[in-house]
Symmetry: D2
Subunit: 261 residues, 4 copies
């Protein structure tokens, strides 16, 4: 069973909110503060929430913080390149070991998401404040727990459109419809190593998306879903010289030939 309480770290680039009054009006204390409050409301005593931002030392994602994190959420947009490769590698390592990762909206272009996907993760977009409707295509999934309809709407959104250059997701949870004519795979799960990854499209700095009740619910559900399980991870390579079962065809092997794995 996942550890209780779940230890959640909310990572936010936290630049737009400080630089633009229009964004600050929506997220006066940063996107991370709104997400933290929403998760506290939804998860209550089941979770301990902390936040981390780009400008902190090591972006707030030290070895210690990550070692104590069960699920990490990621929001970035303008400064993906300023995230240190060393920190990206550290996050990847923790995901492979079992830490859950939620990648939100413009986080699709983050180093960590692209590294875990192996593709470019780019897409089409348009800032026209158009209507979005997220349709559920995996109705029994824990990530849609408690949603009451077949879809939910966001009135004013930035459009993201296909082709979204990701590997085929393990599970496709939501498909978005946009008023201007596009569709998008808006909720996608991926397993990497022992870890679970959820990409969730909604969210933008100039629209109050993270104040939306359905969006908050999905993110809270996804945090629960992404929590690590108690089973071991066996990601390291390992030589097993003694076989589990007897080998009748065994013959001499020149061990000097083999190395480098």
């Amino acid at each position: 069973m996942p550890s209780t309480p779940l230890r959640v770290t909310i990572w936010n680039e936290f630049l737009h909110e400080r630089e633009h009054a229009a964004v600050r009006d929506i997220y006066p204390d940063g996107i991370h503060a709104v997400l933290a409050a929403a998760l506290r409301r939804h998860l209550g005593d089941d979770a301990q929430i902390r936040t981390a931002t780009l400008d902190e030392p090591e972006h707030g994602l030290t070895e210690k913080v990550l070692a104590e994190t069960d699920v990490l959420t990621w929001w970035g947009h303008a400064a993906h390149e300023r995230v240190a490769d060393e920190v990206v590698d550290r996050v990847q390592g923790r995901v492979l070991e079992g830490m859950g990762l939620l990648v939100l909206h413009s986080g699709h272009a983050s180093k960590i998401f692209r590294k875990l996907m192996g593709t470019g993760c780019m897409l089409r977009w348009r800032e026209a404040a158009e209507r979005e409707r997220l349709w559920i295509v995996c109705p029994g999934h824990p990530i849609v727990e408690g949603l009451s309809g077949e879809c939910f709407e966001l009135e004013h959104t930035e459009m993201y459109g296909e082709f979204f250059d990701i590997p085929a997701p393990d599970e496709l949870i939501f498909i978005s419809w946009f008023e201007g004519g596009e569709v998008f795979r808006s909720g996608c799960t991926f397993r990497r190593g022992k870890g679970k990854v959820f990409y969730f499209r909604p969210g933008h700095e100039t629209f109050p998306i993270y104040h939306d009740a359905n969006v908050q619910r999905v993110i809270a559900n996804a945090v629960r879903w992404a929590a690590p399980t108690g089973s071991p991870y066996f990601g390291e390579g390992r030589n097993i010289p003694e076989s589990l079962s007897p080998i009748s065809t065994k013959h001499t092997v020149d061990e000097s030939l083999h190395r480098g794995k």
Copy 2:
């Protein structure tokens, strides 16, 4: 339809064959020479085969060579770290654009495979010359075309065992049984961008695996399967300011806020 003839480049690290008499006995002109001959026999006029090796300038994988390659096969073992990151990025870019990639045996730990997978790609192994049996679990797939049985055997092999730290494959084609007690997902397909990737386990420098008729057939089938199609790839990000369909909810957006994608 794929271009005719298919342009295939066989990449080989080509170190073991030059350094060890035991390997040279099996592959006197290198693993790449045996693979090239096999593909020529199987594909005939349908393919143009060339080879490239680590010690050539840019490892033989220049912009020009890759631009003229429809399918690339990859074998490496002892010197993964000597492959230049720039060349790895170039190969990844071509895969996303549609070039097929076959990763063979110890290529699981190559930079290019790990980069495309987003995971560590490690596994368990044992050099005990034990029996392997590859069972077909996707019987209608073009990659198993022409195999006559439910499985095929390799008498003396290096064992690879689970856990194999890859994303769940899009299609699982073969599962291996090993005499000493392990199993392995031995034939796995993945799509990345517009490109198709096939990981195929068999092959080792000290066993004559690439002389095996079934192994050769699978590799030839996989080359055909991985050939690029004639459809476009849309991997770049792109702003689409004019919508395809009218947007009734459109309102003013402060364009100055958005950048960095």
Copy 3:
């Protein structure tokens, strides 16, 4: 390699075209005639096309016809229940053995599709002649070969909307956008036994969908893709009393206990 020429059977319910002038205007000789002509144009000498309809004996799908069919396409709407269960079982058996099956539009509710899926296969719909845009989400797939854009449009269509009650497709090729606000998984592949199944949404009796060049191209591509391979199918259950490898732990088993598999 698939047999050449491919033997394609186009099955059509063929009721609407005979009963309604509006449908007859679009498909004077039936939907099957338009599909047959399109496949002849696209596949030329690579295929032999025949047709079969509901009112023929055994719906035109005798043992002999099916034994000589490599790929079957299915269009039905008003009379799914009139298709004999015996014929449905026969088609299922052939799919498992390797015959390709293309299920078109309202064929989603056919007995054969529901039988192969194991679910209800229902969906939402609306007849408002609205615009549909099919977005490609699997750009390297042979089924999208030769399409020139990121999407293609159909001006007047019947809407099909999610939730579409199917198992998660093995590959999702197209997602449709509809003007009225819905999305739909419009191109889906499934493997069943040795056979390949493609569900393709477009098509309606009162819109000239099957005269559309892109729709015809996709169907032709899908026929090639669904063609059976030359490998065997091992779908029957079978006792294997003699093991392939020696069993050291073997002990006496009371054979009288076991039956019924």
Copy 4:
């Protein structure tokens, strides 16, 4: 969140145990009694366990019982054909609505599993009491929660071997190795409608498989995993005459043409 306590119904054919002393020695009160005790130990107050068997009226699976069941487990072997089609349809309907289903061992050939899969679901088998080793290939999955190693062993088992004629599972959790030379996809998840299905291979009437601690743990984990979520299911077909968003291209449609969906 799943309802608490979870309502679990354990279905058992319950013939072998009454007819054969050798089976009765292992399962004196039936396989269902051992499974029930194991689930009670693992799930405690989180679950209410009841059982049902073939010879009860409606096989113990009345409308009422199924309406009150969150997760159903299924064991059958000798009498699959004696299960009434009406009951099978009822179980399928409940799975589509969200009830979890665990299909155990020889249940692969049950009517309900074959109906949900759409394939024959047959396999190879051998009764030689050989060793089986189940390797974990999806290490972060809740179904492997609490397992301590990379694999677990069963000393004497009936062999099940590939090709296992199922659709590609949504998630592959375990692959079995058998001493005699075969492999098998031993733990497979499938979604059907809103319901989750888990096929788990171990179990046989003449081996004490369901007394094994690891097997019991996996089954308990799978019961938790398969529990229905609180979100709605939208499996029924439905006409949506009024669009959610305005349709500019709307034109007159002859409604008289359409029926039968």
